[in-house]
Symmetry: C2
Subunit: 427 residues, 2 copies
Amino acid sequence: MSVKIGLVGTGTVGGGCIDIIQKHKDDFKRHYGIDIELVRVCSLDPAEAEAHGVGHLFTPDFHEITTDPEIDLVIELIGGTGVARTIVTEAIKNGKNVVTANKALMATAGEEIFDLADEAGVEIAFEASVGGGIPIIDPLKHSLISNEISSVLGIVNGTTNYMLTRMAEDGMSYDDVLAEAQAKGFAEADPTADVDGFDAAAKIAILASIAFNSRVVMSDVHNEGIRSIQPIDLATARSMGYAVKLLAIGHRLPEGIDVRVHPTMIPLSHQLAHVNGVDNAIYVTGDAVGETMFFGAGAGSGPAASAVMGDVLEVSRHIMLGVPPIVGCTCTDKLPIVSMDNLETRYYMRFVVPDRTGVLAKSAEVFARNDVSLRSVVQEGTASRDAVNLIFVTHTACEKNIRAALAELSAMDDMLLAEPTVIRVED
Amino acid sequence: MSVKIGLVGTGTVGGGCIDIIQKHKDDFKRHYGIDIELVRVCSLDPAEAEAHGVGHLFTPDFHEITTDPEIDLVIELIGGTGVARTIVTEAIKNGKNVVTANKALMATAGEEIFDLADEAGVEIAFEASVGGGIPIIDPLKHSLISNEISSVLGIVNGTTNYMLTRMAEDGMSYDDVLAEAQAKGFAEADPTADVDGFDAAAKIAILASIAFNSRVVMSDVHNEGIRSIQPIDLATARSMGYAVKLLAIGHRLPEGIDVRVHPTMIPLSHQLAHVNGVDNAIYVTGDAVGETMFFGAGAGSGPAASAVMGDVLEVSRHIMLGVPPIVGCTCTDKLPIVSMDNLETRYYMRFVVPDRTGVLAKSAEVFARNDVSLRSVVQEGTASRDAVNLIFVTHTACEKNIRAALAELSAMDDMLLAEPTVIRVED
């Protein structure tokens, strides 16, 4: 008996999955006794299926997969929370196990999907939703469960990490590096999901849910992106001994879960500071294991397909052995999400201000009045003749005081000429 | 129903396991529905059991654990291939699942143990045998199985990595740093297993067996240690853009498995070059996933106990669900082990030679005659007035030619005043 698989989505990742099945089907049987068979593929474009040699399995109608009684396992790789949600829920309701790479879906409708899977007695697996090919969800759900995890944080968006790396190493401007990333296919035409931190927010919601045994959804995550970062910020950070990364951060605090995505300064001595380009890495700290890191390619056909197919093979193992789902939803606690307001950390801030006497003094006064103690203020030139960069580094300060100061400065006439750049320090 | 556990070995790692059970037993039940109960502990020293609050469970006789019909799972943490082997095989024959951290046992008698477990229908798990708390065996047996793995390599011995790090960063001599590591508890009184590469050899045998689906035993591994490394080697390597690490290396080649442990120069730009102190990291390359790395603490009570208890919880899950072992032995192929003789790489070699005209010319002549092309030769002072260091870096050369040249030089009177230092380059 072989496990019958239906695949929805034949793009980059789906194509990679088909290739793996064709290349290694016999190996899976010989090494692990896992016998899988791709019996139907669905997408909007039959040419994609044909290009991977499975044109004969093509259907344009996903219902032919979700309702086919022969199919044991459905792979959903179209992404998003619209049709994908219908496909996943319909497949589960029809008793099919589901493997998906859909971070947005799992980070918004995870609870509903787990409930449905539980009711139907099927498995839902989603390793590829975070960190491309890096095994991270599986270790968190298996190898590391003897720990109380205190933090899970990492670089989980390859697009922005590529951009920050190029800015740091080659001094390219934000606009130039975005254009290059788009040309290379590392960034979408509309880069919002990546550069504004939404993609990373979905991923840290998933990781935090598993690590802390408590449901975290995407809207719980405070996210800030990298649009206001420029090479000067990376160069200044480096001179202070830091790298700047778009970090997705989840901390378990006594009062609840602190979960956020924002540009972050991390010491150059930290492993994460050396994760460059489109690579991803997730850093997990547990009470027994201490600090561990999982590193690899965060995206791309092969890596994502590796994760999807790892899940497919694992679920297929269970189907062949006739065993029930081994692990379902593990969000058994209901921890509150803590507000950013009380965060205490150090801040790097860069303002573009008019080149005029008194601006530095006035901003310093605003910080002082809001109880923000400054460690250093440096004035640097800008591209424009009438403006300068004012770079502040604070001592440990409270987020709500920083925000109050920023609001006050933003409201002043003729003060901030651009959106301020705010980078928090994680030591 | 709870899963009844017997623990043999209450030292550093065993004590850590007891602590985890006591601290998180209720969490395991609430989060995962896994109900475990420690019902007996055995060691040579009842005081250890008492120190961890389980004196009432103590027995000095391991048979009371391996033959107790009530016990479902035995944890073996005494190490070695003597009594430990009896404990593991006896437990399995009595139908008990086994979790062990025993690298020497798994790297020498793995096949027999798997066969016994298969026959008895029980599970054998050994995540803690490699890389301390780092999840690596589990990802290789699950998440990454859709890949053909082309290489698995890493820093798997914390003692030698600590010593090399101190030599590189603080210029300490081999003898001084060994004494320090012994004082800090990072090295044994008899450091042979660590500094001569036997510990790393056992670990790479285990990793290579899983990664390449073919049995590799400890005696298949060519191993060289770090006894001849001195700060001058690390400083010279750094000036060439390399870090020196005791690397455990497994490559899948068209002709078979290349598996070895030796001091290795790796580019400073590589992630592994930044793994310092007692940390471990394993680098895995697969045809779909590309390059991934798993990093963390390679030893210590908490990390090792995290890995042991991760296995215990996973096996307990299966016991509670009444499911058979999910994965057994995966060494289904019989790939040959390739000889080192045909290895082609670049070599760094340092000889301590008499401070005398003609020595450099004579050694260069020996290399030339053996078809070893030199990239550079540098003469540096030594601590002794009558001797100098001769440092050779070769172009790509063949291992057997290098060995022939070294044998020739060693046989010469009044030439090599100490064991030559040989470091291979892995780019």
